[in-house]
Amino acid sequence: MTRTRFMRLDEWIGFAILALVIFVLLPAALDDFRLNLFGKYLTYAFVAIGLVLCWGAGGILSLGQGVFFGLGGYCMAMFLKLEASTPENTAIQSTPGIPDFMDWNQLTALPAWWEPFYSLPFTLLAVIMVPVLLAGFIGFAMFSRRVGGVYFAIITQAIAAIMTILIIGQQGFTGGVNGITDLRTLHGWDIRTNEAKTTLYFVNGVLLFACLFIAQYIRKSKLGRVLIAMRDQEDRVRFSGYDVANFKVFIFCVGAAMAGMGGAMFTLQVGFMSPTLVGIVPSIEMVIFCAVGGRLSILGAVYGALLVNWSKTVLSESFPELWLFGLGGLFIAVVMFFPNGLAGIYNDYVEPHIKALFGRGKPERSDEVAAPAVETPPSGGPAQPTARPAAQIPPAGTPAQ
């Protein structure tokens, strides 16, 4: 009864359309500057995909994804900063050869824990592993004690706040409020040129698709179905003999790894990393990207990140004094009228027409939205095969059980 195929035809088409948008349409339509901006937006999409897995599928709402994004970004920034801080470039300092902010803070030697970041392989590993280890630690501490739902969300938010305070307070080691700035080259390759930024955009796109495929694979695997079951009826899953905590820790770590990758790509494309990307506000913004795109759809998450950030840019350029109201209006409209975001709009309004166009008697349900009530009837009652998916999904406002 369950489908185990990796992707259905319409999902392949969805992926193909997104690939077309990212790899052909945007590069063809945009100049270097705008393309770089879209590259920046796409780094948030990594986080949003991770959130779809954690929140949409697993029911774990994390308001601290910025921490993992930031850790990935800081790992990359440390490597780039060390490369930029050659004794020649920093000859003007009291201690040449260390990053400029360390010199301003009266440090006279590079801290030992910075040393490994001279190595690119170590840095690339750290970009993934540092967020994963922290997520694993938080996950074990929380989920094995059955802390979940709202409490977990609050704790992740507190961690985001703590991380910001830590980074700002330890400015001799982290660059403080200013962050780590003035990054120049990656193994001698100048990342500030337009050609480099375009290359990075495509690297970013490829990595994003890797994450999308991983996410798709997880959702279609048995693991994905256990997650959805867990989201809707955690106790039943537990009584069926599954170790719920381990599943949660795993998916939380996957989300953290993706966020870390996004952060590293952010650093490479924007050219610096700062604590403003770690704290509570960016973390919540990342949840908003996911909500606008549709928290049940991995493709929706990508479009959500693009749409929200693009609107931010366009609105703030056109109405520098009023743009926040416009953005706020957009969020309210989405939450009120389209609780499943862009993906929900697609499923409710676009997909039926496409189906009608092809005139096929395809099954009613669409698992672009992994509608839980159809796959695992929550109340033991009979599934309602003809009801529209949107009606069966818990409203976006009450995601975590």
């Binding site: 100049d31 270097d32 500057f33 770089n36 901006l37 920046k40 003007i92 009291s94 400029d100 902010f101 301003w104 803070n105 009266q106 305070i165 700002i168 307070g169 400015q171 403080g176 409020v177 200013n178 962050g179 700035t181 003035d182 990054l183 120049r184 500030r192 924007v270 050219g271 610096f272 700062s274 403003t276 990307l277 840019t313 703030s316 350029e317 520098p320 004094e321 743009w323 926040l324």
Partner: protein, 425 residues
Amino acid sequence: MSDDNHLKNNPNSSGPSRRAVLAGGTALTASLFAPKFLQAADFPTAEVNTTGLAVTDDTVTIGILHSITGTMAISETGSVQAEKLAIDQINAQGGILGRKIEYIQEDGASDWPTFAEKARKLLVNDKVASVMGCWTSASRKAVLPVFEQNNGFLYYPTFYEGLEQSPNVIYTGQEATQQIIAGLDWVVRERGAESFYLLGSDYIWPRTSNKIARKHIEDFLGLKVVGEEYYPLGHTQFNSVINKIRLRKPDVIYAIVVGGSNVAFYKQLKAAGIDMTQEDPLLLTISVTEDEIRGIGGENIEGAYACMKYFQSLDNPNNIAFVKAFKEMWGEDMVIGDVTQAAYLGPWLWKAAVEKAGSFDVDKVREASPGIELQSAPEGYVRIHENHHLWSKTRVGKAQADGQYEVVFETAELVEPDPFPEGYQ
């Protein structure tokens, strides 16, 4: 006194400026009028703009890049207002090289990546000829690589920590030594202070400033620092440090608390019975301008001393005209702080440099900038140093209950900017 080491004379400020653009006086525009209007026809666009900037036969476009939303908006709004006023006044006089200034305003949204994004947009897409912008050091650090890579030109208005000298930035505020040293010397000379308690918000500017202050107090003045402490931005509980201050009885509290923390700090200080009007201990700050006093409340900070280069109460014809014009444009209840005045200088300094260079090209404007002088600045005469900072005077003001400062001291000569001060690192 070790003044002599740090307060270098202004060797040559007499004689007419090169183009005699900035002499004389009119009622409205603080003695800023051109003896003869420069006609655009005398400066063909092809000649004054060889690098593809946004310059047409009758307009030139510049960027304004400040936070007008978010936590920094309250501080940066004054800068935006001052820059717009300067642009209006320049346009009323016929513009620059016969071209009206138009501006594109972008919102940095108190968010450093946004600053970098908008800076790139202004330079790459809009090709603006120069940018007036940034406020916090973090935002400047974020945009700096963008300006250097795209060869933009930024006028940065805030007093800041120094340790920087970019070929693509003119720093119209004071670097740290200009703000700190003369004030400390004054308090030692005039008030006989011997011990100091340093405190500040925890980020680069207060830390660097206190580092310089400590070096000056200990190494140059031979006096004592009895405490040094930092609090996170937004911190509002200062009772413990106030207790320590009472315990160690310093002669001077040297405070570099910023933003919202200021309100809590001064209120708690007053509530703890430290009456600043008694000057025991005396409070000297470099972070409270008239703008901040609006939030703190004049009665809470009355009697404290601030070391700045500009106070709204300065009594000179330039400033009286500037304050009048500012209030006419933005409202009677406006106050003007140090940074607002420094922001006002940006467009004027750029105008003078462009006219000296006879070109909008960034490389030529940069080359022309050192030595540019303004007779008409509200703070008085200023001149651009080879290191892209301004020669300007340092002043000490005493806070009044009405939220204004009474100027009690000003350096006799212009203070030389020294962003990489030797002996203070």
